[in-house]
C-alpha cells in the first residue's frame, strides 16, 4: 500500500551530507548516521559475454572487487558500499547474476574477516522489459525474469535492492528530444508513477521475504538522458533542469511504497527526495565524471550519504586499474566531507559546494538547498502524481526565471527564450488529471500499451 509524504523531513539548514533522519543500519555499516561513505561501482571492459570462457567474467569481477577493497584498506577506509549493476545478459540469465552476486558477497566477507572492512552490497538488475515495441511492462516473460533476478541475488548475499526502472520511457525518450513538456509529464508522472507502484510493491515484497533492504530507484533514464543531451548541446539546459525536477515525483513513489534508501546514486532528484523523506541517499558528482560528465560536480555532494563514482570500466591507467582510482578519489572526497562534519561545519562546506556550481547552469541551480526544499514542498502539497508534476514543473520554471532576473543564474539568450516557452506550456496545462491523461493517451497510443500500466487501452484504430 502506498502512503503519501505530506510534509518535509528537512528544512534547508538541516539538509546535509552524511545525515539522514532515518539512517540505515545493517551489518556494521551505518548510512546517513553522520558520515559519508564511498559507493563504488565498476563494469567490464569491452567484452563479449556470450563468447567468454566459463568463469572468465567472474574472475574479472573478483579481481576488481579485491583490488578496490585492498585500496580501501590501504587508505584506512573502514566502511564502504559496493554496487553490482547487472548487465543485460546477467539479468536475462538470473543464474549468471546470482553467481556474480555470490562471488562479490564472498569477497566482501573475506575482507570483513581479514581486515575488518565493513561493507554492504547493492545489486541493480537491468530493467529488461524493453525487448518489444511497445514494451511489455507487466505481461512479458522479462518481468518474471527480472523478479527472479532480484530473488536470486537477494538470496546470494545482496544487502540492498535497487533498479533503474524505465516505465514511461517509450514516451519520455521522444519527448526529451522534442523538448515536449507534456510528454515528459505524461511519461514521468503518469506512466512512470503507475509503473513504479507496480514494480516497488514487488521489490519491497522480495526484500521483506529475503531479509534484504528495498533501497531505491532512479529516473535517470529520463533525467540523465536529458542531462546528457543538454550537455551535448542538443536540448536546452533549462529544459533538462525542469525535467529533473519532475523526475522527483516518479522516484518518490518507491519510498511511498516502502523503500528505505539509500537512493540510487545517479538520481540527482535524490536531493529533493532527501528533503521530503529524510532517508539516506547516494549521490554522485565530480568523481563520477568517468561515467557522466555533468554540470553538477560539486553541488551533488550537498546531499550525499553515499558518494559514488557511478561506474567505470576495468581498464588500466597510468597508476593502476580505473576502479581502484575511483575508489581512491571517492575516499578522499568523503574524508573532506567527514572532516568538516567532525568540526561541526558541514553546513558551511555544503554551501560552498552549492555556491560553486549553482550560478553557472540551471541544472545545478535547481539542486541548490533552498530550491530543493521549495520543490519538495510543492510536491508534498499535492496528492495526485500528475498534479505534483505540474506543480514542481511550474515551480522550477518560476525559480529559474527569478534567479535569472536577479542575476543569480547565467543563461544565454537562447536558453532564456526556451525558459519562456516552457513556462508558457506549463501555464497552459489542465489542472484536471483525467483531462490531461485522456488527451495524452490518444497522442501516444502508437507508442504505449496502456494495459501494461494497469490502464484502459486506447484502440489504435480510433482517430
Amino acid at each position: 500500500m502506498r502512503k503519501r509524504f505530506t510534509r518535509l523531513a528537512f528544512d534547508a539548514d538541516h539538509l546535509l551530507f552524511g545525515v539522514a533522519r532515518t539512517p540505515l543500519k545493517r551489518r556494521n555499516v551505518i548510512i546517513g548516521g553522520g558520515a559519508v561513505l564511498p559507493e563504488i561501482k565498476f563494469t567490464l571492459p569491452p567484452t563479449n559475454i556470450e563468447e567468454s570462457a566459463p568463469g572468465e567474467i567472474e574472475s574479472v569481477y573478483a579481481e576488481i572487487v579485491t583490488a578496490v577493497c585492498e585500496r580501501a584498506v590501504h587508505l584506512h577506509q573502514s566502511s564502504l558500499v559496493v554496487e553490482f549493476e547487472l548487465l543485460p545478459p546477467m539479468t536475462l540469465d538470473p543464474a549468471m547474476g546470482e553467481a556474480i552476486t555470490a562471488l562479490l558477497a564472498g569477497k566482501l566477507e573475506e575482507f570483513r574477516n581479514s581486515h575488518g572492512l565493513q561493507s554492504l552490497l547493492r545489486i541493480t538488475p537491468v530493467d529488461i522489459r524493453e525487448q518489444y515495441k511497445p514494451p511489455l511492462r507487466r505481461s512479458g516473460r522479462e518481468m518474471e525474469l527480472l523478479f527472479e533476478s532480484f530473488r536470486r541475488c537477494a538470496a546470494a548475499g545482496a544487502d540492498l535492492l535497487s533498479i533503474e526502472s524505465t516505465g514511461g520511457k517509450e514516451v519520455t525518450d521522444p519527448s526529451i528530444m522534442a523538448a515536449d513538456l507534456r510528454g515528459i509529464l505524461f511519461g514521468t508522472a503518469v506512466l512512470g508513477c503507475a509503473d513504479m507502484e507496480y514494480m516497488w510493491e514487488a521489490i519491497v515484497g522480495i526484500a521483506d521475504e529475503s531479509g534484504t533492504i528495498a533501497a531505491g530507484d532512479t529516473a535517470c533514464g529520463i533525467g540523465n538522458t536529458a542531462m546528457v543531451l543538454a550537455d551535448q548541446g542538443y536540448i536546452p539546459k533549462v529544459f533538462a533542469a525542469v525535467v529533473r525536477a519532475i523526475t522527483a515525483v516518479r522516484s518518490l513513489v518507491a519510498y511511498e511504497i516502502g523503500a528505505v534508501g539509500p537512493g540510487k546514486d545517479c538520481g540527482y532528484e535524490n536531493a529533493i527526495l532527501k528533503a521530503i523523506t529524510g532517508l539516506p541517499m547516494s549521490m554522485e558528482g565530480k568523481s563520477a565524471a568517468c561515467a557522466h560528465l555533468s554540470p553538477v560536480g560539486n553541488i551533488a555532494g550537498c546531499y550525499a550519504d553515499l558518494w559514488s563514482n557511478e561506474s567505470v570500466q576495468n581498464v588500466k591507467l597510468l597508476s593502476g586499474m580505473a576502479p581502484v582510482i575511483s575508489m581512491e578519489q571517492l575516499i578522499y572526497d568523503c574524508r573532506l566531507m567527514n572532516t568538516s562534519a567532525r568540526n561541526g561545519e558541514s553546513l558551511r562546506l555544503r554551501n560552498w559546494f552549492a555556491e560553486s556550481d549553482a550560478r553557472l547552469d540551471p541544472q545545478a541551480f535547481i539542486l541548490s538547498p533552498d530550491v530543493v526544499v521549495e520543490l519538495g514542498r510543492v510536491i508534498v502539497a499535492e496528492s495526485n502524481d500528475y498534479q505534483r508534476g505540474v506543480a514542481v514543473g511550474r515551480k522550477s520554471v518560476e525559480i529559474l526565471h527569478q534567479a535569472f532576473s536577479q542575476g543569480e543564474l547565467q543563461l544565454t539568450d537562447r536558453e532564456q527564450q526556451w525558459l519562456e516557452r516552457i513556462g508558457e506550456t506549463a501555464s497552459e496545462l489542465p489542472s484536471d488529471p483525467n483531462l490531461f491523461v485522456d488527451e495524452e493517451k490518444v497522442r501516444w497510443r502508437e507508442h504505449v500499451k496502456y494495459a501494461e500500466y494497469g490502464m484502459v487501452d486506447v484502440p489504435a484504430e480510433t482517430n
Partner: protein, 215 residues
C-alpha cells in the same frame, strides 16, 4: 528562384504547413521536382544542419524543421521516383545486439535524412543476421552500427566479419558510433569510419560516398 528560396525559408523556420503550400505552388508553376528538392528543401535543411552542428540550434528546433521538410518531401518524392531520381545515398542503421540504447542512433538517422540520404532504421537489439539481410535486400551504400555498452560494442566486429564471409563487405562502407566507441576501436575492427556525433556522422557519410564515387 524566389520560390525555391521561399521553400527553403519555410523549412528553416520549421513551418510545415507553409512549406507544403509553397511546394504545391512551385509544382503547379512547373518547377522541377529535383530543383525543389535540392534548392528548396535540402537547401533549407542544410542551413539548419550547419547551425545545429555549430551549436546555434537545438534538436527540438531541428525536429520541427525535419517535419517541414517531410511535408514538402511527401509531395515531391513520388515525382522523383517516377523520374528515377537517385537519393544522395542509402544508409542502413541499427543498434547492435543486446543493446537498447537508440537515442544516439535516432539522431544520426534524423540528421542523415535531413541531409538528403535515404535511411533504413533497423531499430535496437539488431542481430548479425538482420544486418546481413538488410544489406542484401536494401543494397545500401553505408551500414551504420551504434553501441553504448562495452559488452555490446564487441558485436560490431562480428557483423564486419560476417559481412566479409558472405562477401558483402566490399559492397558497403561500415561506420560505427556510440559513447564507448573510439577512432582506435574503429580501426581495430576494420570499420571504414567513426563519428563522435550526429553532425560529424553526416560529414563522414558524405566523405565516404565521395571516395566511393571517385574509385
Amino acid at each position: 528562384m524566389e520560390r525555391y528560396e521561399e521553400i527553403a525559408e519555410h523549412v528553416q523556420n520549421g513551418y510545415s504547413e507553409k512549406a507544403r503550400k509553397a511546394v504545391e505552388a512551385a509544382l503547379s508553376e512547373g518547377c522541377s521536382p529535383e530543383r525543389i528538392l535540392k534548392e528548396g528543401l535540402i537547401a533549407g535543411m542544410d542551413v539548419v544542419a550547419a547551425k545545429f552542428k555549430s551549436g546555434q540550434m537545438f534538436l527540438p528546433e531541428v525536429l520541427a524543421v525535419a517535419g517541414a521538410m517531410k511535408a514538402g518531401m511527401e509531395l515531391v518524392k513520388p515525382l522523383l521516383v517516377a523520374a528515377k531520381h537517385q537519393s544522395l545515398g542509402k544508409v542502413v542503421l541499427g543498434t547492435v545486439r543486446g543493446d537498447m540504447h537508440d537515442i544516439g542512433k535516432n539522431l544520426v538517422a534524423i540528421m542523415l535524412q535531413g541531409a538528403g540520404f535515404d535511411v533504413v532504421d533497423l531499430g535496437t537489439d539488431v542481430r548479425v543476421e538482420k544486418f546481413l539481410e538488410a544489406v542484401e535486400r536494401e543494397h545500401p551504400d553505408v551500414v551504420g552500427m551504434s553501441a553504448l555498452l562495452t559488452t555490446t560494442m564487441v558485436h560490431m566486429k562480428t557483423v564486419i566479419e560476417a559481412l566479409k564471409q558472405r562477401e558483402l563487405r566490399t559492397r558497403v562502407k561500415v561506420i560505427i558510433g556510440g559513447a564507448p566507441i573510439s577512432r582506435n576501436f574503429a580501426t581495430e575492427i576494420g570499420a571504414d569510419g567513426y563519428a563522435r556525433d550526429a553532425a560529424t556522422a553526416v560529414d563522414l557519410v558524405k566523405e565516404l560516398m565521395n571516395h566511393a564515387q571517385q574509385q
